[in-house]
């Protein structure tokens, strides 16, 4: 049953529209198999990565901390990517599959439809994070960073996932085709991740630091690195969470506004 058909069914108790859409999208995603296939691939990736890191015999304490940080950052990146792709497909994909009309005919507001789909996309990141916990705990327990790693991963990962889901839903509402939606968000994600590969020498100076702070991805990565590798406190590095938090709020609102304005059949604006 599609989300549109589910929303059109009478529901005793008067469940809000976003909950009905979210429930159906979650069933489609997880009971339909796509979510579990992605989760299996994600778990396999983490298994390979953590096995390589855990079996390094000559690692010193700093390298062990870096191993935990690397695992967490890889998990955050891939989990956010999954959520972004699902969000980017949420509206433009329905439009291309000709199922959007059914959804729009239901007595559910466009905002509720977008919210329900965003929640389903966010669930992919949440599942990825839950799968990450045992790996991070295993790698970090011997050196006493497991708790900090899980807390940092939850905080940074949730903010980045909200930001990227909002971005994906907004782009999906605007895009004329699903291919365009996916292309734009992937390009955007690559552009945001590119500065993480800069060498240390290129990150010196106030200009570079400002750019790293403004970019939610690099700011989040810096926060995780400082907490786990350099053993700084959360409070000490809290300023690096400003841009992820602002991006999470701003792009959630932007995605909602764009979906409310442009969630319609045919070409955007038509």
């Amino acid at each position: 049953m599609s989300a549109g058909a589910a929303a059109a069914q009478p529901h005793p108790g008067g469940s809000p529209g976003w909950a009905i859409v979210a429930g159906q999208e979650l069933r489609d995603l997880w009971l339909g198999g796509r979510g579990l296939v992605l989760s299996f691939a994600f778990a396999a990736l983490l298994s390979v990565l953590s096995s390589v890191l855990a079996t390094t015999e000559a690692a010193n304490l700093l390298e062990q901390r870096e191993a935990v940080s690397l695992t967490l950052q890889a998990a955050t990146a891939v989990g956010s990517l999954l959520a972004l792709l699902a969000a980017a497909d949420s509206i433009s994909g329905e439009r291309e599959r000709a199922t959007l009309e059914t959804l729009l005919l239901t007595p559910v507001s466009r905002l509720a439809i977008a919210a329900g789909k965003a929640l389903a996309a966010f669930s992919l990141w949440l599942a990825a994070f839950l799968l990450t916990i045992p790996y991070v705990w295993f790698l970090g327990r011997g050196i006493g960073v497991a708790d900090e790693a899980i807390a940092a991963g939850l905080l940074v990962g949730a903010l980045l996932a909200l930001f990227l889901v909002g971005l994906g839903v907004g782009v999906s509402a605007l895009a004329r085709s699903n291919r365009m939606s996916l292309s734009v968000v992937l390009f955007g994600l690559l552009a945001l991740f590119a500065p993480t590969q800069l060498p240390l020498s290129a990150r010196q100076g106030w200009v570079a630091e400002a750019l790293l702070r403004v970019n939610p991805i690099t700011a989040g990565e810096h926060f995780v690195g400082r907490v786990l590798v350099d053993a700084h406190g959360f409070e000490e590095e809290a300023s690096w969470l400003v841009s992820p938090a602002v991006a999470a709020v701003a792009f959630t609102l932007l995605g909602a506004l764009l979906a409310r304005r442009f969630l319609r059949l045919g070409r955007a604006g038509g």
Binding site: G33, A43, T55, L131, G142
Partner: protein, 192 residues
């Protein structure tokens, strides 16, 4: 006369050697740590100080102090940059008879036996041996804490569990071979 000349030449040579030796350790600069042994645990930080003194009659050259760390165990790799963030200190000139005290901090990121020492060189481009401080023995208790055993069950178990869950859901939705899926059974019982 030739004997006197020979004696003078020998004395002059000896004096030159003495002067050279005195100036060999960066022109009268001495480097003395405040301790010769440090004991700590893996993951802890330890601090020590070195006093750099100018024993010469004239002001020293512009001096640079540098911290080195090495392992006494050939199987333990040491990257000094991981042990200390500030290994180089720029001291400027030291007046004759004066000294400077520099504080150092090292993070014990590997277990085992190590040696730390400080060298001081002058910035002027002339041939002169650096002044080297006495070695500090650093004993770090504790060994590698990353548990390599037990990763395999985790690495195999979690993907297997997710895969099994997916398979179970798929079987339940589509039904076993020869048996209709649950949705078809409900439709047969309750009608469309």
């Amino acid at each position: 006369m030739p004997r006197a000349l020979g004696t003078c030449a020998a004395l002059a040579a000896a004096l030159a050697l003495l002067v050279h030796a005195a100036r060999g350790a960066e022109g009268g600069v001495t480097v003395v740590p405040d301790r010769h042994r440090l004991e700590t645990r893996l993951g802890a930080s330890v601090a020590f100080r070195t006093t750099i003194a100018n024993r010469a009659a004239a002001a020293s050259d512009v001096l640079v102090a540098h911290l080195e760390i090495l392992s006494l165990d050939p199987d333990v790799y040491v990257d000094p940059e991981d042990w200390s963030q500030q290994r180089t200190r720029y001291l400027g000139r030291i007046a004759p008879g004066r000294s400077r005290t520099v504080a150092w901090r090292i993070d014990a990121i590997s277990g085992g036996r190590f040696v730390a020492y400080v060298t001081v060189v002058g910035a002027a481009p002339r041939r002169q041996a650096p002044a080297i401080g006495e070695a500090i023995r650093v004993e770090v208790a504790g060994r590698k804490a990353l548990d390599t055993d037990g990763i395999l069950p985790l690495a195999i178990g979690i993907p297997a569990a997710v895969g099994a869950l997916g398979l179970a859901i798929r079987v339940r939705r589509r039904g076993l071979p020869g048996r209709p899926p649950p949705e078809a059974e409900r439709s047969a019982v309750h009608g469309p």
